[in-house]
Each structure stands twice: as structure tokens, then as C-alpha cells.
Symmetry: C2
Subunit: 231 residues, 2 copies
């Protein structure tokens, strides 16, 4: 079925895009904001680099493993719901046939037209369970490789994103210069990231770019203000 294949490809591509977006938007934003926040209270770039790299290590592992477990949980959940549906087609076939009919009643079909549809769908157990999973419960079948791919994609995107704001502090010894360069470089990177993200997810690219700049700006302003205030 070309339709299904098209849908699956669409979902896999958007899963990867989603993972890159999850990892990179936080990777660009949180280490950036932390470094800017600390720049208001410390006197050397060294402590900013240490805190920033510690944050990147912690954040990439937490988000990567978090993504791994989220994808695994989705997969386990799908499997256990599917097993329950399979059991129900064996133990309560009439109730399950009524549920198939109920879906079509919701689309305004008449009873005399519903009977052959229900008979056709419930004549093959795999098809029947497929139908219940998708149409009654709204589940998409998850890709079993997704958990590992998701973890790696999110973690790498986080590290790559986080190195952008941190590089100036690693390369420059004057704190104020490093902060200025980091802010400039990261705001450009946030805009470019949001622009491309907008193109991929179908929102206007300029709006996408401005959104990520605003998030990064707000987060780092809050971190800067809070660090100044308590120190």
C-alpha cells in the first residue's frame, strides 16, 4: 500500500527532526543562558567553561537517556495494548465487533452498510487488531529502532548545540569579550536553527527564527538576572 508507506516515511523523518529539535534547542539555550548568567557573577572564563561543560555532559545524558526511555515506554505500551486487543478478539469477539461497528456509526453509516464492513474487517485477526489499534485507540505502530536512534540523536544535538555558546569562553580569556561573542554567535545560531526548524515543520521560517531567539534571550536574561540578584 503506497499510502501507508508514505505515512510511515513521513513519521520516521519527523521523528528524527523532532529529536534534533529537542536536543539542539535545549543545547543551544540552556548552556548559553547558564554561561551568560555566570558571567555576571564570576571573574574568570575558567569557571564558566567548567560549569558549561558539566551542564552539557549532564544535559545530553539526561535528555538522551530520557528520550531512550520515552521511546521504549511508547513501544512497550503499544505492545501491551496490542496484546490486550488480541486477547479481546478471542475472548469477547462480539464486543470487539460492536466496537468496530461503533466507529462506523460515528461516521453516519447505516446499519445495513455497516454489517459487511464489520464482517470483512473481523474475518482476519491481524487486520482486525490493526484496525482497533489505529481507529479505536488512535495508536501508531512505533518503530522498534527508534529508542536507540532517538537517544543518540538527542544527545549529539545537545552537545553540538551547547558547544556553540561555550566555544568563545574556551577560546578567549577576557570574560566580557567572551560573553559578547557568545551572545552574538548564539543569537545568530538560534535564529538559523529556528529558521530551518520552521521550514521543516511548516511554520513561517522568519517566525520560527524569531521564536527561538526570544526563548534563548529570555532564558539567558532570567539566568543572568537571577545570578546577579543572589550574588
Amino acid at each position: 500500500m503506497p499510502v501507508t508507506t508514505h505515512i510511515e516515511e513521513h513519521f520516521e523523518a519527523s521523528d528524527t527532526v523532532r529529536d534534533v529539535v529537542i536536543g539542539m534547542s535545549d543545547g543551544l539555550t540552556v548552556p548559553f543562558a547558564l554561561a551568560a548568567g555566570l558571567s555576571g557573577t564570576v571573574s574568570q572564563t575558567g569557571i564558566v567553561v567548567i560549569a558549561g561543560l558539566a551542564e552539557i555532559a549532564a544535559g545530553s545524558i539526561a535528555m538522551g537517556l530520557g528520550g531512550y526511555l520515552a521511546a521504549r515506554t511508547d513501544f512497550d505500551h503499544y505492545r501491551s495494548e496490542r496484546e490486550r486487543e488480541i486477547r479481546e478478539t478471542v475472548e469477547l469477539p462480539q464486543k470487539e465487533r460492536d466496537e468496530v461497528a461503533e466507529v462506523f456509526r460515528g461516521y453516519g453509516m447505516e446499519e445495513k452498510d455497516i454489517a459487511p464492513v464489520v464482517a470483512a474487517i473481523s474475518s482476519d485477526q491481524k487486520r482486525w487488531v490493526d484496525f482497533m489499534m489505529r481507529f479505536e485507540l488512535g495508536f501508531e505502530e512505533p518503530n522498534p529502532k527508534r529508542a536507540r536512534n532517538s537517544a543518540i540523536t538527542i544527545a549529539l544535538s545537545y552537545v553540538l548545540g551547547g558547544l556553540v555558546p561555550l566555544a568563545p569562553y574556551m577560546l578567549m580569556s577576557r570574560l566580557f569579550t567572551a560573553l559578547s561573542v557568545s551572545v552574538a554567535v548564539t543569537l545568530i545560531a538560534l535564529f538559523a536553527f529556528g529558521y530551518v526548524k520552521g521550514k521543516l515543520t511548516g511554520i513561517p521560517p522568519w517566525r520560527g527564527g524569531l521564536q527561538t531567539v526570544v526563548i534563548g534571550g529570555l532564558a539567558s536574561a532570567a539566568a543572568f538576572g537571577l545570578a546577579k540578584w543572589i550574588s
Copy 2:
């Protein structure tokens, strides 16, 4: 339709649980790991508290606004796809009817049984479009309030989670004591969080608890090791 209501409630509840899980698992993990990492290289609790609070501010804003935009993007995407389907039922009705038929062919139905189904579904434009969105494209209609709720839930969960590992550094002046208490308290909190998360998402609670402890432990060990190594 009680079936649909049940499904919608299921989705809304799992959306909120998902948001709390997203915010709190990162909130418990990343500030914990950052604070532990910095404890290996600085001599006072003050800098750990500043960095930790800056991280909580940055992380909660970045994740909360990120969640807001992700939910908005889902909603906009759903709406633009829906408008495209509405246009297609007007401009290319025969093609759209063929696509409805194609879905049922995939379930093994015979052509003579498909015709009345297609006629019933395509007799009402709203129903027809609903059908295409759900069965051909696999979209669930998103809740329009979800974006704001999602942002607030994620951000608050992050702040609450982040204050657990940070509290000992705020209350105790000796760094090593604060680190020890923070590790103990946070590992207990991570286990309890993972245990409850397991109950809610249907995975065995003990496994859920151990998983979050391992993630938190790995992230903070990596942050600690990296900070020690570069300082």
C-alpha cells in the same frame, strides 16, 4: 460517543503526565548533576547555588517555552493539513473518494462492500475530512489549550525538581556535607519519581525507579568527572 470521550480523556491525562515527566525528570537530573559536578572543583557552596539557580531559571524557561511552541506547532500543523484536506474534497472529490476506498481495500474488503461505505462517509464534508485526517494521515485533533498548559506544567515541574538537589547547598555551608545530602536526597527523589512514573505509564514501578536513578547517577557522574578532569 462514549468511545471517543474515553479516548480524549486518556490523551489529555497522558499529556499532563507526559509534561510533568518531561519537566521533572530533567529538573531533578540536570541541576543535580551540575551541582555535583561543580562540587568537585569549587570550594564554596555559594557558586554552586548561583550556577544551580541560573540553570533552573534557564532550563525551566527553555523547556517550558519549548513545550509551548511544540504544542502550538502541532496545532498549526493539524489545522493546515485539515484545510488542505477540506480543499481537496472540494477540488478533487474523486481522488479523495478513491483514498477513502483505498483505506478499506487495505483491510481486505471487497469492492461491492466498499462503495456504500465511501458514499456514506463522503456524504458529509466534516465527517469526510475527519475520516481522512484520522485514517489516512493518522492525526489526532490536538487540544488548543494544550500549548499554555503544557508550558506551565513543564516549567513548574522543572523548578520543583531542580530545588530538590539544590536545597542542601542553600541550607548548608560545608560543601562536602551539602554534596552528600544532595546526592542522598536526590537519589531517593529520583527513585520515588521513577516509581510513580512507572505506575502511571504501565511499566513495572521498580524498574521505573531504577531507570531514573541510573540516568541521574550517570549524568552527575559524567558532569563530576568532566569538571574534575578539565579543572
